[in-house]
Amino acid sequence: MGLTSESDAKEAMKLCMFDLRRGQTEGQELDKILFFYPADLPITNQLSVIGLSEGLITFTRIFSPDAPCEVIEAEKHCHVFYEVEADIWMVMVVEKENPESIWRVDALRSVLKEIHSLFVMFHGYIRALVDKEPSGGLVRSHLYYFIMDFLSDFSIGKKLQLPNFRDSLKEQGTLQMLTVGREAAIEVQSLVTLLESCVGNKQCYSMTMFQDLLVSTNLSPIDTLNLFTYAVLRLTPIALFRGASAWSSLRKTDTACSTYAGALQVTSISAIDQYYNSHDPPSLRRHNYPLVRPLQHSKWSKGKDGFLTTDIWGTEVNSLLPMCPTIWLHLTEEKMFLLAYQHRGLTVILLVPVSSVSGDQGISMLKQQIIENASLKMLKVEEKLSRGWGGENAYHVSGYRYLLVDGDRYVSRASPPGKVTTLTKESLVALSKLREEVDLEKARAKWDNSGREKDIEICIRAKNNSWLIARLVRGKELYMVLEKGSETLLFAADATEKFSERYCNGAFSLD
């Protein structure tokens, strides 16, 4: 069908990952490339993108060895750089052609960060994979499926919709937390204890979520963030529902419409082949790698026992039971089994060290134990949480459109998306620019004096008479758009103050 033939639509975004330590000799440049999107771009074009990027990195390293190159702003393109691991770079090239392509570089970079940290969670470090198989086939096929699956979440129609100005009241790479009362929190804690006692003496971790909000966890912040991101993408009730309905709705709609999944099927084979063609005979290789595609759509489902199941990790050799998913912990680099139990809005994810459980039999015993001992408590907790939950718009504050970020804890809270869409484009674009400025300022402050946090306060009156406010106090950030405000600055300050007192425990009110 040729759904993504080059003629169809010029891909507005290019994404590549390359390893500077590879392909050092003339004629071997192709070996550098670990991943390239779109895969069907002619090799020469791919090489030119990477060549430019590498050149810039090498050049800027002369001046700033620690942080070489972050972004290139050209007339029609913008290159966002991110060094994911030592000498392994990701570069995203976006075109500035249509009016929608106004974005914050930091937001784009956080997409790159997310790709990498999720990848590491499932497959381990890229460098390790590269070293494991120097020819690069292993890492390439992993990366390929992983990133393509990842990008599919951004696809709208046949295009990729990257975070742009409309998402300026959102912060990628942060957790959204459920505010719970003390009693409920204690109840949750008690549930966590109970789960831990089910596992026994071994150290295990748990993460409790309600809808797509985090309730409690004892993971390290980075692991929390990764697991949370994954859960929101694939595990929460909403994600499960989305996964289930996406297929059906897509099928119903026009077949001619380029479904991304379909495109993937077509392109993937050709792309992989492409790599193999250029290096090795493809025949054997492809089946040697046990490919795990954790981000594949619609693969998770809720079992009868309440546990979420998937066959992403394959099935056991002598039975049809799906294998238990595993992930790597960032800090300890320990391999953990992932068990997810869901009861209505409540999702409890339990991570158990692989070393402590004897295979899938141990896992099913553990599941049994959890069902026996803890399911009642989970029921209770769910009830308690859903009673205290205000629904989708629980964190809406009327009159305000806001974003609160706690940079220390990777936590953010924002006006509900439905409310943000009521803002005019002008306000959003202006806010995006304001945030860009703040990002710059933050970066500068970081270089200037490490360890000390700078307090920033900005109030801007935009063209459409809306107030744009940014406040940074001691590592916490508050962005606000007030569209129906009066004219005076005093009003804006008052509004901020009020908000701070009522919703942030006065964290943003200094004077």
Partner: protein
């Protein structure tokens, strides 16, 4: 000194050392042995009774082993069967065998090095208890390491420490050998196993003991004289090694020369001793062995029974079966009330505080209720309740008179004559088993006992044929049989101590202890003998010196007394007194909580044990300490979190209940034990469907009709913990219901008011200070968490989970948590570097915010900036402005601090601090701004030395910058 020279003091070993049966257990097992062999209780019973499979645990096994050692071949099979059952827990079992077979600490300590360390504590407790050489489990904070345990004991200046330590040091090799020998053979239990090793060990220990005898003697002497007569004496008496119920020496001597007989006036709790023309009375409400009697003159003549009126102004004496004489103390008037001698005779009489009458005569033809007219100085008949009566029983405690009638005397009617009025109980029949087809046993008065437990009325009927003690509970309008207790003796007696039912098996000379609160008919612990505490020559000597007045006949009597425990002359008085009529001595029965529970303290029924402890009122302080010690122990032993959580739930629920009823803070003073501390759940259980249905079978009419009212009575006891129900009659009192669900026409209802009730309750409050065993969250901190924190160093996550569960319990009961608990939690989390969780705890307010917490966070936050920030935020949110500003300045955020200070008008922070911070930052502009700020806002600042100094600094900085 008697103690150690005596053939078998509890801590020493039998010197006999005969080869067939080593008798290290002698002291411990002797009592059981005698009970087992010398009475009608078969040995097999002991094993099967004490070791039911479902509750099979260490203590019961121990009993089995003791018996086995005592060479009863019949028991062997049973024991082996049980042992097999116990196999899965072999390590523990093995420790226990080692520990107990030798009955000495030594072996335990040494032999258990191979066991799990946590078990050690367990064993130490047990053996200490059983050796009778400790009275405080709490002394051992249990570490799993014997050195530490010993160290702790030493800290508490524990008398026997040095001895134990010495034994441990000197005989550890031998002990270890014996221990490993035994453990190697487990589970094949044989007679005389490891005999050689054992004898070696025994000799070693004996040598040590002999060597240290003198020292120990001194210690003991000191204890006995110094510490009046408390349980420190426990091991001075040879026979008390195993006992949970004891009578304390000295008794109250109710002996006056020429006294003819002794009576007990239970309305006034007086012991009355009669001489031909005088009556001496001792108060027993406050049991004081040295109380002096008061006396009244009476006229001569026969006395069948004698009772003072409740206001003590009148004295009624039954002179014959037809005449009762009443003497007015104030006026000296005497008059007699007689009955028709041809048709009826007086069975007895009692005074009552019923509003409608003052005194009740029980006659063969029925009850006569009289009032005493103060003017007329005469008795006026108010009411007669016609009924033929064979015999009756009455206790003032219950205000209940039970009237027996019928051929077998097993038909009963009852009246409760309380201050709230008269309630008639429905007629009921007691169940009696028939020995043979044609003979019907006759129920005697001494076989029926009225007891009051937790404010409920029960009647115990001893069925001699079935060897059962049947239990009836009295509701307002129903009498429901509630199961039965087994009896192992032809002669039994019943007492109630602190709401615990003691069934004395007089012939077997043991006591079985029941707590019938939770409807379980399982004894709390194994049958053990009643022991006499505090009696030894040493104490006799001290007794002599302290009470010279009490005559010289004691020492002679004593030997007799000791021998006649459960003698024929013993009268058991309601609720917990024993009158030895032949010696004229009155003993008070006490319960040794520690001994009755200590053994099972670590068993699986922790929850039940704690509930039991929390219901104790008399020895509340000890019950409290024991409760806390139990919780501490199970935490130290890393018991599963849910189990610990349940234990804490029990304690905190009890505490919250105590707070609500006010019994915690008031240290309520009640004469009788009130059920105010009773947990609700358990009350609910007593009225389960089975009970009702069972009663339906027996008395279909009354129960089905009045089912609702039945329940309402229970509701009373459930809901109205707030009213001090010192009087059991209240239970039957509809007035408490607040008028709801009054059963129509069940009996004469007088519509009494709550006021009346309360006044009667307050009147009855006297003496006997009791307090609640409830454990407050602060107690938890100081007795449980804080002491164990260091020991649990390596297991922070477990401890965190425990504390989190504790917080859950607290929030469930809406109790305030002692702030230091939070501080502790912060410390633990920070120590384990679990910062993410700590943040979560703070954000969710699982850790409630307080200044203490904030300061701890700041302290712990030295390594972690985020944690420090959390601490700061809390300071700000709590409006602790001064601390907050100070912190900001210290961290170098002086400008922010300044702004904050101005906004919140903080003037307590010295300007020089700000200036100093600004100067350190080397920014002349900032320094100048700070300087300017103070110049503007603090009057007179310009002339201060600070101003000048920093003004100069500004200039310097400026020049250096420009330069």
């Amino acid at each position: 000194m008697q103690l150690l020279a005596s053939p078998e003091p509890s801590l020493s070993l039998s010197p006999s050392g005969d080869a067939v049966a080593p008798t290290p257990l002698a002291s411990a097992s002797r009592s059981i042995a005698c009970a087992a062999s010398g009475s009608s209780v078969p040995v097999a019973w002991w094993v099967s009774r004490c070791c039911p499979k479902e509750t099979f645990g260490a203590p019961s096994l121990m009993v089995a082993l003791v018996i086995f050692r005592v060479e009863d071949s019949n028991a062997k099979d049973v024991v082996e069967e049980r042992v097999c059952y116990y196999k899965p827990v072999t390590p523990f079992w093995c420790c226990f065998v080692i520990g107990y077979l030798s009955s000495e600490l030594v072996v335990q300590a040494a032999g258990c090095t191979s066991c799990a360390p946590s078990l050690f504590v367990n064993l130490l407790h047990t053996s200490l208890l059983y050796c009778g050489c400790t009275r405080r489990i709490a002394t051992i904070d249990g570490s799993g390491r014997r050195e530490q345990a010993i160290h702790l004991m030493k800290d508490k200046n524990y008398a026997t420490t040095s001895l134990l330590k010495r034994i441990l040091l000197n005989c550890s090799a031998q002990a270890k050998q014996y221990g490993s020998c035994v453990s190697a053979r487990v589970p094949e239990v044989e007679k005389d196993m490891c005999l050689k090793e054992f004898i070696v060990l025994k000799n070693c220990m004996q040598n040590v003991l002999r060597g240290k005898g003198d020292n120990l003697k001194n210690v003991n002497l000191h204890n006995m004289t110094g510490e009046s007569s408390s349980s420190a004496l426990s091991y001075s008496s040879g026979s008390n090694a195993l006992s949970h119920v004891y009578i304390q020496y000295p008794p109250l001597r109710c002996h006056v020369p020429a006294s003819r007989s002794l009576f007990y006036d239970d309305g006034n709790k007086l012991i009355l001793a009669l001489t031909p023309n005088q009556v001496f009375s001792w108060k027993t409400a406050t049991y004081n062995p040295y109380a002096a009697p008061s006396s009244d003159q009476i006229s001569e003549g026969p006395v069948l029974s004698i009772r003072y009126s409740l206001d003590l102004k009148l004295l009624a004496i039954q002179r014959s079966s037809h005449e009762i004489q009443i003497w007015n103390k104030d006026t000296g008037d005497t008059f007699s009330q007689k009955c028709r001698p041809e048709s009826e005779s007086i069975l007895g009489f009692f005074w009552t505080d019923c509003p409608t009458c003052d005194i009740v005569f029980v006659k063969t033809s029925g009850l006569d209720l009289y009032t005493y007219g103060t003017e007329s100085r005469n008795l006026q008949l108010v009411q007669t309740k016609k009924q033929s009566i064979s015999w009756y029983i009455y206790t003032h405690e219950s205000r209940l008179v039970l009237l027996a009638s019928g051929m077998q005397c097993k038909s009963f009617t009852g009246f409760q004559l309380s201050s709230a009025g008269i309630i008639r109980l429905p007629k009921f029949e007691m169940v009696m088993a028939k020995p043979e087809a044609n003979s019907n046993p006759i129920l005697a008065a001494e076989d029926v006992h009225i007891i009051t437990v937790y404010g409920r009325l029960y009647c115990l009927q001893f069925d001699k044929v079935a060897m059962l003690l049947r239990l009836y509970r009295f509701y307002r309008d129903a009498v429901v049989q509630q199961g039965s207790l087994p009896v192992y003796s032809d002669r039994i007696a019943v007492s109630v101590v602190d709401n615990v039912l003691l069934v004395h098996q007089a012939e077997a000379k043991v006591v079985i202890v029941y707590d019938i609160y939770a409807d379980s008919k399982v004894p709390i612990s194994a049958p053990l003998p009643l022991c006499l505490r505090g009696y030894s020559r040493a104490s006799v000597a001290s007794f002599h010196t302290s009470t010279k007045t009490s005559g010289a006949s004691e020492s002679k009597n004593l030997s007799a007394t000791e021998e006649t425990i459960y003698g024929d002359q013993w009268q058991f008085l309601v609720p917990d007194l024993v009158l030895d009529v032949s010696n004229g001595s009155l003993w008070k029965i006490s319960l040794d909580l520690e001994a009755s529970l200590g053994i099972s303290a670590s068993s699986s029924e922790v929850q039940l044990i704690l509930e039991f402890l929390q219901r104790r009122k008399l020895d509340a302080e000890k019950a409290k300490q024991l409760s806390l010690a139990i919780v501490r122990t199970i935490i130290l032993e890393r018991k599963p979190v849910p189990m610990v959580a349940r234990a804490m739930d029990v304690l905190l629920a009890a505490y919250s209940q105590a707070i609500k009823t006010g019994s915690y803070n008031k240290r309520s003073i009640t004469e009788e034990i009130s059920p105010s501390n009773a947990p609700n759940a358990a009350v609910g259980e007593t009225i389960t469907g089975t009970d009702v249905s069972r009663s339906i079978n027996q008395e279909p009419k009354s129960v089905t009709q009045k089912d609702s009212s039945n329940r309402s009575i229970v509701a009373t006891s459930e809901s109205d913990g707030s009213i001090e129900k010192t009087e059991t009659g209240d239970l039957l009192e509809p007035g408490l219901l607040g008028g709801e669900d009054l059963p129509a026409g069940t009996s004469q209802t007088h519509g009494p008011t709550n006021n009346q009730l309360n006044s009667s309750a307050t009147q009855r409050k006297q003496s006997a200070v009791t307090s609640s065993a409830a454990t407050s969250p602060a107690d938890f901190y100081s007795h449980v968490f804080s002491p164990i924190v260091e020991e649990m160093m390596g297991d922070g996550s477990y401890l965190t989970a425990i504390i989190a569960e504790f917080l859950r319990s607290c929030s469930l009961e809406k109790l305030k948590v002692y702030p230091n608990t939070y501080v502790l939690l912060v410390q633990i989390l920070a120590r384990d570097e679990r910062y993410a969780e700590l943040e979560l705890f703070i954000m969710n307010k699982i850790i409630e915010h307080s200044k203490e917490v904030a300061l701890q966070l700041l302290d712990s936050g030295r390594q972690n900036q985020q944690i420090r920030k959390l601490g700061q935020d809390i300071l700000r949110q709590l409006s602790l402005h001064h601390d907050y500003v100070l912190l900001l300045v210290q961290d170098g955020y002086y400008l922010e601090a300044l702004r904050y200070a101005r906004k919140n008008k903080v003037t307590t922070v010295r300007p020089s601090l700000f200036l100093e911070a600004a100067y350190v930052s080397k920014d002349p502009q900032h320094l100048a701004a700070v300087l300017r700020f103070f110049s503007d806002f603090i009057p007179g600042f310009k002339s201060s030395p600070d101003h000048n100094t920093y003004h100069r600094f500004v200039a310097e900085l400026n020049s250096s910058v420009t330069g």
